[in-house]
């Protein structure tokens, strides 16, 4: 593939994947509302469209109609730049996710590193938003977000290193292909595999600011945290970025630990979407069941528990590859 065709391939697939993911987010928001409604013995949206399916679109229209308020003492440039940057950073990781053997925007050799790097970039718009708002609640939220994202980046990297070591590849599609040929890492070897998935899952919740790790937003403490001063379209971008981040995180989890598009009877795309949505739904299950941690407890959990566990898992994975008969690739 020469450079020109690679660019065209990336542009076409990238556009398609962005559009599909953003539409998927709308459906996911509807799903979450229904799901949360059932958990709370209520119905969720019912009035907009059949079974409330148009509710997310109504929300977006409502948000876009709102006045775009910028605080007088805000840092205007940073304030305006933060929301689109958040959307870009969260969508960027979707580029290397293989939705099927063929559907992948950019099949990078270092796909896993790319996902981690661009996911780690999310902290920049978050802090920009908190700083530029010139609001004390937003500043505390940004402070918490930086501490949390930087800390939880470590167990996240360690968890993703387990499939990398087991498959011997840094390419996401390479790891999925290896699992399709052999076995899913969440099932075998079960000792570094399944704990590594759980570790990844917790770190993903923290990176995408989901309960019980949503302390940067913490609306009962910090009003709305970093998004306190944002309204209208800019708030919509933050709101969307959060969902995209969770969705892409779930997709990466299903690719790294559950064999991605691998599965019988149905095309690979179906399996990939199904696995992603199951992980995505479990995020909501957790979200609507638990209360949140305090920030110092969050740090203690990360550095005292998850990081040592992650180091141990990488070590076990390496030992498995080296010494288990048939464990080596």
């Amino acid at each position: 593939m020469n450079a020109t065709s690679a660019i065209i391939h990336g542009a076409v697939y990238g556009t398609i994947i962005c559009v599909v993911i953003l539409t998927g987010i709308a459906v996911a928001i509807w799903f979450e509302r229904k799901f949360a409604g059932r958990m709370q013995s209520r119905l969720g949206p019912t009035m907009t469209g059949p079974v409330g399916l148009l509710q997310p679109f109504a929300d977006v229209v409502k948000l876009l109609q709102k006045e775009d308020i910028v605080p007088r003492d805000a840092d205007r440039g940073l304030f305006d730049l933060a929301p689109p940057l958040a959307a870009i950073a969260s969508l960027g990781a979707a580029a290397v996710v293989p939705w099927s053997p063929k559907i992948i925007a950019a099949d990078l050799d270092v796909g896993v590193v790319f996902v981690l790097a661009i996911g780690g970039l999310m902290v920049v718009p978050t802090f920009m938003a908190g700083w530029a708002s010139n609001n004390k609640f937003a500043l505390i939220g940004a402070m918490r977000a930086v501490a949390q994202s930087v800390s939880y980046g470590v167990p996240l990297v360690l968890a993703t290193m387990v499939p990398v070591v087991l498959a011997g590849s840094l390419s996401v599609s390479g790891i999925v292909g290896w699992q399709a040929q052999h076995h899913w890492f969440a099932l075998w070897p079960i000792i570094p595999g399944l704990p590594a998935f759980l570790l990844y899952y917790l770190a993903m919740l923290a990176e995408s600011n989901r309960i019980p790790f949503d302390i940067p937003e913490a609306e009962s403490e910090l009003v709305a945290g970093i998004t306190t001063e944002y309204t209208g379209a800019k708030f919509t971008l933050f709101y969307m970025a959060e969902y995209v981040h969770t969705m892409v995180g779930s997709a990466v989890a299903s690719a790294l630990f559950f064999g991605g598009w691998d599965g019988p009877f149905r095309p690979g795309l179906h399996w990939m979407v199904l696995k992603t949505l199951l992980i995505f739904a479990s995020v909501y299950w957790v979200r609507w069941s638990l209360v949140r941690f305090r920030s110092d407890q969050l740090m203690a959990l990360c550095w005292k528990r998850l990081t040592p566990i992650g180091l141990g898992l990488v070590f076990v994975a390496a030992a498995f590859v080296q010494f288990w008969p048939g464990g080596a690739r």
Binding site: I211, E217, S220, E221, R292
Partner: protein, 417 residues
């Protein structure tokens, strides 16, 4: 460990002389309170002044705290009340004794039944009116049902404070509201109203229990009792919930007594005090309640006391409805006009145990007309609970500040009146 070291530094900074720029107003009257001695923070002390409220999701209404923060640790907290003041006590001086019941319903809008009860008991004492036995049993039943409803709401809002309106907290909140709804339905059945009942009058009750009410009470109580293990799993037995509440906002029993704190907060601090048992009123001499006492004095103990009181109140309600005596429900002349109750002299104080503590009513008779009091003062438990904030909040984080405020369970309508 790291956190406690940091707090020590912050508090030391606060006590350095150059920080104290202006003394608190109370110093003029000669009683300097060390916890309230800073009015403006010193910029060099590197503290942030955060106005927490009155428009804030977790202040349970319109309440404001000025938090001085070092990083995220509260160095000093100053509560401000008065945003919901409606001059109820002044209004009561203008209205006749009969007209005041629906006004005080709006004070503690989470437990209106006990508000009415406190007011009318004071008037009965002033006018020397005997309340028939059935009416006293009905008052006890309503008070205990109201206690269940109020504690359920307290549990739900506390979970929202801990878990957020868009998360696990709101799940529990809506579940407790679902059960609270059952009790409101019962009250609606009796009085025709869901919140502001106006059912207590001088000398007894306005509305008798409808036919088949006991079956409905039992059905509702059975449902609530069956859901209690579910709440326990989500709150008092939940690991994250315990992490957030155990050891947070510890209130010493002696300090609580000095501040005039009563009710579940006092009992959670190890003081065995409950007016229902210690100074029985209505039918509590016959239906003796079990008094729960915890010794820790932290947010968890306060939640635990309320949680256990729900179970106790269910048992008490069952006894009350099963043993409900027959007879008249009002021992005073029937209400024909608002000016029918008259008192020219005398002053009385009556305190009862509401879900939040001792709700007292002090009445001085002999106003402009004999039909209305000269002065009426309501002693509300929530106001005293908020007085603990400057003492128990320093050293906590912002997250803890929200938890502490939630565990005090203040109702601003009652605080400001």
């Amino acid at each position: 460990m790291e956190m406690s070291a940091r707090v020590e530094r912050a508090v030391m900074t606060m006590n350095e002389p150059q920080v104290v720029t202006v003394q608190y107003q109370s110093a003029v009257r000669g009683n300097v309170d060390p916890h309230l001695s800073i009015r403006h923070y010193d910029p060099e002390a590197d503290m942030m002044l955060l106005h927490f409220g009155p428009q804030h999701p977790s202040t349970h209404g319109v309440f404001r705290m000025d938090l001085h923060l070092d990083g995220e640790i509260v160095v000093k907290a100053t509560p401000y009340v008065g945003y919901l003041h409606r001059a109820v006590e002044k209004l009561c001086e203008k209205l006749s004794y009969v007209q005041q019941t629906p006004i005080v319903d709006k004070n503690d809008y989470v437990a209106p039944m006990t508000n009415e009860q406190a007011l009318n008991m004071a008037f009965e004492k002033l006018l020397n009116v005997e309340v028939p036995r059935r009416a006293r049993w009905m008052r006890t039943l309503f008070a205990e049902l109201q206690r269940i409803a109020s504690h359920l709401l307290a549990l739900g809002t506390f979970s929202i404070d801990l878990g957020g309106a868009l998360g696990g907290g709101s799940t529990l909140f809506i579940h407790t509201f679902r059960e609270r709804e059952l009790i409101l339905d019962l009250f609606e059945e009796v009085t025709g109203m869901r919140f502001h009942y106006n059912t207590h009058t001088i000398g007894g009750q306005r509305h008798d229990l409808p036919a088949g009410f006991d079956k409905k009470v039992h059905a509702a109580l059975d449902i609530i009792e069956s859901r209690i293990p579910e709440y326990a799993k989500m709150t008092v037995d939940n690991a994250i919930f315990k992490d957030r509440t155990v050891g947070v906002g510890v209130l010493d029993g002696k300090l609580a007594l000095e501040l005039g704190i009563t009710g579940p907060i006092l009992r959670a601090s190890g003081v065995d005090h409950d007016l229902r048992r210690d100074a029985p009123y209505s039918a509590y001499d016959e239906l003796v309640p079990r008094v729960r006492v915890e010794t820790a004095g932290d947010c968890y103990a306060r939640t635990r006391v309320r949680f256990d009181e729900v179970t106790d109140s269910i048992a008490l309600c069952r006894k009350a409805i099963d043993g409900m005596p027959e007879g008249p429900i009002n021992g005073y002349k029937p209400i024909r006009q608002p000016t029918m109750a008259k008192a020219t002299s005398g002053q009385v104080y009556v305190g009862i145990e509401t879900p939040r503590g001792e709700l007292g009513t002090f009445v001085v008779a002999g106003g402009d007309t004999p039909t209305s009091p000269h002065r009426l003062k309501i002693r509300s438990p929530s106001l005293h609970a908020l007085a603990a904030i400057p003492y128990i909040m320093p050293g906590a984080t912002v997250s803890d500040a929200v938890a502490i405020l939630g565990s005090l369970d203040p109702i601003m309508g009652e605080v400001d009146r």
